[in-house]
Symmetry: C2
Subunit: 91 residues, 2 copies
DNA sequence: ACTTTGGTTCACAAATAGGTTAACTTCGGC
DNA sequence: GCCGAAGTTAACCTATTTGTGAACCAAAGT
């Protein structure tokens, strides 16, 4: 069980809604979880991040919880606003 | 000069339109170029790939040439249709 | 010269992501 | 208990991506 999965279990315990919708589609949630992890690691709130991205905290929450898909540019800027870099490679 | 840049120079030589629009935004083109490279490496035509993805060759061409942004799911399925895997990590 | 194959580009329609506001919940500190 | 801070969700709207069909170009073969 890797870090991501541990993290997921923790969130399932905290939020019933999360647990329920999670079962519907593991894949779509992965990226949101990764992003939340990245944000919490840096120790920034959704509101602070939203301001850096000139958007609203609700949009951040949606990305981390609900979003079924995300644009590459959104992913990139989210991470860059956290001082991180997105690395993509093909195997 | 890495492989990607070599590849870009080659394409610039072949297509004036590509060269011109390329200058407008390097970033947006990178992903299309990577995808084309991946496809050519496997030796599959745009039409063949399009059929695997239940879409049309024009959509594939657009992604490789024009697309300013792309959904993560699109990126993923494009690569999976080529038998490749998308790997994302955060630095 | 004609045809076929691979690719490009455009225009329009359909689907979906992201911006925004507002109401709601949870949690910690007072 | 009350309050503020952090987060969640829903609804609406706009912007953008993707699907699709058609016209076009270039190269290669016949």
């Amino acid at each position: 069980m890797d870090d991501l999965e541990k993290y997921i279990e923790k969130r399932k315990g905290k939020s019933k809604k999360f647990a329920k919708s999670f079962e519907k589609g593991y894949e779509s949630f992965k990226i949101g979880i990764l992003l939340r992890q990245a944000r919490e690691e840096v120790g920034v709130t959704q509101k602070e991040l939203a301001e850096k991205l000139s958007t609203k905290k609700s949009a951040i929450s949606r990305i981390e919880n609900h979003a079924e898909d995300i644009r590459l540019s959104t992913l990139k800027s989210y991470l860059e606003a956290l001082g991180k870099k997105l690395q993509i490679n093909i195997q």
